[in-house]
Symmetry: C4
Subunit: 125 residues, 4 copies
């Protein structure tokens, strides 16, 4: 079967709450890019992070092995620099192999957590 | 790289709860259109707001600078008029440059907040 | 401008919780199909509801006036019959004019409400 | 009417929380693939589950009768093996007839439940 997905994805929403309730690390407020590589070759992925008032940062480089999923927490990206908390951002994800990208936030700023999720926007490239 | 996205987007859901719990302004109930412009030129964006029982209002005009994201809160739109609370609405977003649009609501009517999000519907234009 | 959207949409998720907390009717657990008609002609919409273990029911008929949005609560559909609570269902939405459809659930089974939303799946017709 | 949907879908997000609050089974933390078959023939569906650090598992086989919906809970899949809790996964859904797939999580790790949902990513096959 051909690998499923696209090589270019965008997530316009991005916001990592600065505060959390509940046990670490699962219930720490976070956002995730869930990456799925159904193909037979490793996918080399580059993420660029956009902000409201300064130049984009990146690329952050990650690899998704063949026939594996990787749920990448934005609060665990450190190179070239951590993504600041409580700050609007967005991201573009480029892969050398087709992948599928889904975006999720767990928000535990208040005592009970909230969730959001959407498939990312698939680019044409 | 070509800019990612489309020039026409629609969000059929719209509802700004009239009440909130938690610290202002982050936890005030609100809806957001997250706009991402990955291109090299500023995007001039016009938003038209549709209602159930009266003529559409707009355009609301905003600009997204090149290589920036702008997370636009609907409760901060004032010109030509504020969007009423506790009222069903919908929106159409037209840009002169390709952008990506994602829709989000933070609902803090009850003591613990809830979230929803989806990529907006990309039009063909 | 050409009207935005499609004439055929599907929502595979459907479940109206049987219990609720909070003031009526806003916080009663419910699901909504948000319909947006950006065109100059009224959209005549027919909704068919699918179940796990019996024949589909419908069509439910609603009209969306030109340049208006209608946020249709599934718990307010009564003709040909109400949609049962606490029951898995799905829906197909056919319109004679292009519309945009977004699906939402407010779930207040527990004391604090939860939300989900997604743009419906646009069919090819 | 032609059946609505596609024959290949992917859900990059997958995570079944290990803990729950509230009455069983409705409020047990779970994820669901909502499958809708609008056609006149039964859809034979095969689900493959991908992990971060081991080979994919599957196929899990389910059938969706003609003109029916089936909301499949991932925590009720047992053959070839149960999906582990508190573990990142993803899924690919292949059907011999067009179907529509929507993904949902009910997360009741904390006292008040949270929800997420999105239409799955439709493949090209």
């Amino acid at each position: 079967m051909e690998p499923v997905g696209r090589k270019l994805w965008a997530i316009a929403e991005g916001y990592i709450p600065a505060t959390s309730h509940g046990p670490e690390p699962a219930m720490r407020s976070h956002e995730t890019a869930c990456l799925l590589n159904t193909g037979d070759r490793a996918a080399h992925v580059e993420i660029t992070v956009y902000f409201a008032d300064r130049a984009p940062v990146g690329p952050y480089r990650v690899e998704v092995p063949p026939r594996r999923t990787r749920h990448l927490r934005f609060d665990e990206l450190h190179d070239p620099e951590p993504i600041p908390k409580a700050t609007d951002y967005a991201s573009v994800i480029v892969s050398d192999e087709p992948i599928v990208v889904q975006h999720t936030r767990l928000d535990s700023r208040q005592a009970e957590n909230a969730l959001l999720s959407t498939v990312a926007f698939p680019g044409d490239a």
